[in-house]
């Protein structure tokens, strides 16, 4: 069995509520994390993301200046100079399906509803480390594959018109470089 060594993870917590930051930090320390950074709004979170280069970000939705969705969108830019693939866990009081879908469409990796528990947070963190999904880049989306479960019975909206050819453009490398440079 594989165990995640939290001492080797650098985690950024972005939440405008000091009490919630303390709760999350306490849980992370309990898991073994030692390098935990905190930011109290989206702007400070973006700055800490670029300066501290965290391995995982835990972000609240409702925050002043710009919120967790806007922060996620700013990070998920394929041409970014800083890791646009960083796992983002949205920790929020919102539980409505529409909000979950909106977070997913912004590029969130995992969604975690408050009230938070040690088990649920641990599970989301494990998913980020052990089961990362591939990323999808389209004209209007860049983020983790929204089809979480690989199966032949996908029933969501069909956004991909082509799935049959592995490489449609022979200059794949050039395309890839342009997508990521």
């Amino acid at each position: 069995m594989v165990r995640v060594d939290f001492t080797k993870l650098r985690i950024l917590v972005v939440d405008d509520n000091a009490h919630m930051r303390r709760i999350v930090r306490t849980l992370l320390h309990g898991f073994g994390s030692r390098e935990v950074y905190e930011a109290e709004d989206g702007a400070a979170g973006l700055e800490m993301f670029t300066t501290h280069l965290p391995d995982i970000i835990i972000v609240d939705w409702a925050m002043p200046i710009f919120d967790g969705i806007e922060l996620t969108s700013m990070i998920r830019r394929p041409n970014s100079a800083v890791n646009p693939y960083v796992p983002i866990i949205m920790l929020t009081g919102h539980s409505e399906k529409s909000k979950v879908m909106r977070a997913r469409d912004a590029g969130v990796t995992e969604f975690l509803c408050k009230p938070i528990s040690a088990k649920s947070l641990h599970q989301r963190l494990l998913n980020c480390v052990l089961n990362p999904r591939p990323f999808i880049k389209t004209r209007d989306y860049f983020g983790p594959d929204r089809r979480r479960n690989i199966s032949g019975v996908y029933s969501g909206p069909e956004r991909r018109t082509s799935n049959d050819a592995v490489v449609a453009d022979p200059a794949a490398k050039r395309l890839r470089d342009s997508a990521l440079s």
Partner: protein
């Protein structure tokens, strides 16, 4: 707590990404450096995870001694936001009030007051669904007063019939101001 910084971040590794290019989308496979760097093989299944979770729960248990005072501070924030909205009932004040209520909605259960969180949720949903319509001060006041009373009387969850009756009355109040919004 002082700590030794980890290894330098892998700030360039993410650029080395395998890609499958399709006509209208690209599938990218970033290397999983986190798994390489932060995992190790251990013994029987589940033992490491359970231990980490128990450690975190114990740490949260110690922290919970502070939760009553945290709840008081959150309610004070809510009261201040209510007063600010009563003085200047504009968009900024309503947004600030929503954020404080939303904080309570999310953390009241963790702090030991799930029923207060439920009332805060009712207020949040009410504000969301009103959208551009003016937020009735009376609805705000009743919700804030109810949360204060519930915490003052140490009413925690749905095992208290008076608390449950109060949440029903608030739902009716919301429906009165905006039909269809009370029974969410």
């Amino acid at each position: 707590m002082p700590h030794t910084p980890l290894d330098p971040p892998l700030d360039v590794e993410w650029r080395k990404v395998d890609a499958e290019v399709f006509s209208d989308h690209t599938v990218l496979h970033p290397p999983n450096r986190l798994k390489e760097r932060a995992t190790e093989l251990i013994g029987p299944r589940g033992s490491g995870e359970a231990e980490a979770i128990h450690r975190a729960e114990r740490a949260l248990g110690v922290l919970s001694q502070e939760f009553a005072s945290w709840m008081d501070a959150e309610i004070e924030r809510l009261e201040e936001a209510r007063k600010a909205f009563a003085t200047k009932p504009y968009r900024d004040a309503a947004d600030a009030l929503y954020r404080v209520a939303h904080d309570l909605r999310g953390q009241a259960a963790t702090l030991g007051y799930p029923l207060a969180g439920e009332i805060a949720e009712g207020l949040c949903v009410f504000i969301e669904r009103l959208e551009a319509r003016p937020l009735p001060q009376a609805v705000v006041d009743r919700h804030v007063e109810s949360i204060r009373a519930i915490v003052r009387q140490d009413v925690r969850g749905r095992d208290n019939p008076v608390g449950v009756a109060l949440t029903l009355r608030l739902a009716q109040l919301r429906a009165q101001y905006a039909p269809g919004m009370g029974a969410e």
